[in-house]
């Protein structure tokens, strides 16, 4: 009986330790959330979402161009990165068993380990210098480079999950290999791939370093891909290091908006995953 009591005590102790670990792990997350919400909420008003930044020394104004700019740059990044990443992933899953596949996989792994600021420098050298100006395109290229390796690996995993029997069914119907890959295998994995894309977008939207010397910043609206463009993350950086109290508030507000955007994307990704599982057998 004594051993039973002891076992119970150890059980309690261990459960308690695990719980404590959970609380300690969650503390930083909660404190970040609390800090951003409590500081950022004050800055949010209608102007914040609709107006341009105010000139130095004046209060008021908003970050509407940065919100739009982030969307714009991320859209360019998707236009470049999604076809490349998903295409590479499908290739790796369908044909990537040889040496070429190994090489691509290794490259993707190395690429995903490259610090984002280095990616920014590469985009600077490849796009900004030849074009002789900072641009949304350069920012999009930098973010696309960051998206490709993660997208390629997760697409590969998802495509490998598609049962081989479906591939055989399609081939046995006299469908060529490439159409089978595209219209049966990719389509079956599409739900998961959508989720992977949304998560990649959420991560890309939160990047500052690769944008600092690619898309730079802009005080005004910009809709052309060859001009410097404002983004939320760079705006936060600039406002946060400025000496003005009003800009500090704006930085907190922008941080909150960014957090909400990324959170909404992650949530959407989770919902899509759930409905995908709901559809399956």
């Amino acid at each position: 009986m004594k051993s039973l009591a002891r076992r119970r005590a150890v059980n309690w102790l261990m459960t308690g330790l695990c719980g404590a670990g959970l609380v300690i792990a969650l503390l930083p997350l909660l404190s970040v959330l609390w800090l951003v919400v409590s500081h950022g909420f004050r800055a949010l008003d209608l102007d914040f979402f609709t107006a341009l930044p105010s000139p130095v020394g004046e209060t008021g104004g908003g970050v509407a161009n940065a919100i739009l700019g982030t969307g714009y740059i991320v859209a360019i990044a998707c236009a470049i990165g999604v076809p490349l990443g998903v295409g590479a992933g499908v290739f790796l899953a369908e044909k990537g068993d040889g040496k070429v596949g190994e090489a691509i996989r290794f490259t993707a792994e190395v690429l995903s380990g490259v610090p984002s600021i280095v990616v920014g420098i590469v985009a600077y050298a490849l796009v900004v210098i030849p074009m002789r100006r900072f641009s949304a395109l350069a920012g999009g290229v930098a973010l696309a480079v960051l998206m490709v390796p993660t997208l390629a690996r997760s697409t590969e995993e998802l495509v490998r999950l598609v049962p081989g029997s479906l591939r055989e069914a399609s081939l046995a119907l006299g469908v060529p290999q490439w159409r089978t890959s595209l219209r049966v295998v990719l389509r079956t994995a599409l739900g998961g791939i959508t989720t992977a894309i949304l998560l990649a977008v959420a991560r890309a939207a939160g990047e500052t370093a690769p944008l600092l010397f690619t898309s730079l910043n802009n005080q005004y609206w910009n809709f052309s891909p060859d001009q410097p463009t404002a983004s939320l993350t760079v705006q936060i950086f600039n406002y946060a290091v400025s000496p003005y109290a009003d800009w500090h508030d704006k930085a907190w507000g922008a941080a909150l908006v960014l957090l909400l955007l990324v959170g909404a994307l992650s949530l959407l990704a989770r919902l899509l995953t759930r409905s995908r599982f709901g559809l399956s057998r």
Binding site: S165, E168, L171
Partner: protein
């Protein structure tokens, strides 16, 4: 002879799965292939529509002729061949992202012929004896059907591209007795239009549906002849 197999050998890497098989199937007959697990039955049918060569590390020797043409002849495109030699697999494998109707029309749509192909869908489902059961829910997901219905859907899908030969790899092994009976009845009807090669574990099934039976053992063709003779008066003691 619709299908003529001459001295066919097949390997998976180092495993010699088929050893010098020679047999022929006349037009509009059903050939049943029986034998224990791993004796090369599935490999044999997969050689007839060149699905075998899709397995990494596989190779084969010998000749397979359909309508007198060597399948490995230079002018034969495996994709084109598979449109003439359809295949039904052991487990029902409808496309889960497509509706019932889309599944039947998949062979055409995936090959880039757009449209709903309503007439073809109805015809094919009728041939597969599934029309009455699904006509009111053609646009439901294919996975909402029962296993037996899914398998008949797969048969309809194969029939829709108008094959001359239908290969069936244990089409009823994952099904209950009633669904199996339906599939067997279907095979007897389809013989009017097609040449069928069916792999089965089930001796009674072979006796019920086939004109000729081939018994495989350890990759070798042990005995091949009219079904009645194989079952009542086998020449080989191993049978």
């Amino acid at each position: 002879m619709k299908i003529d197999v001459q001295d066919l050998n097949a390997w998976f890497k180092d495993t010699h799965a088929l050893r010098g098989v020679t047999l022929a199937v006349p037009q509009n007959t059903v050939l049943a292939i029986i034998g224990p697990s791993g004796c090369g039955k599935s490999t044999f049918v997969r050689c007839i529509n060149r699905m075998h060569e899709l397995v990494p590390g596989s190779r084969q020797t010998g000749r397979v002729l359909v309508d007198g043409h060597d399948l490995h002849g230079r002018s034969v495109d495996p994709v084109d061949l598979r449109r003439r030699v359809g295949m039904v697999f052991q487990r029902p494998n409808p496309f889960p992202t497509m509706s019932i109707a889309e599944n039947v029309a998949a062979g055409l749509r995936l090959n880039g012929i757009p449209g709903d192909h309503d007439d073809l869908v109805e015809q094919s489902l009728r041939k597969a004896a599934l029309w009455e059961e699904v006509k009111d829910r053609l646009h439901h997901g294919a996975t909402s059907l029962s296993g037996g219905q899914q398998q008949r859907l797969c048969i309809a899908r194969s029939l829709a591209i108008g094959p001359e030969v239908l290969l069936m790899d244990e089409p009823a092994s994952a099904l209950d007795p009633i669904a199996t009976a339906k599939i067997e009845e279907l095979i007897r009807e389809l013989r009017e239009q097609l040449t069928i090669v069916i792999v089965t574990h089930n001796m009674q099934q072979a006796a019920r549906v086939s004109d000729a039976t081939a018994f495989f053992y350890m990759g070798e063709l042990v005995e091949h002849g009219p079904t009645e003779q194989i079952f009542t008066n086998p020449k080989e003691s191993r049978t």
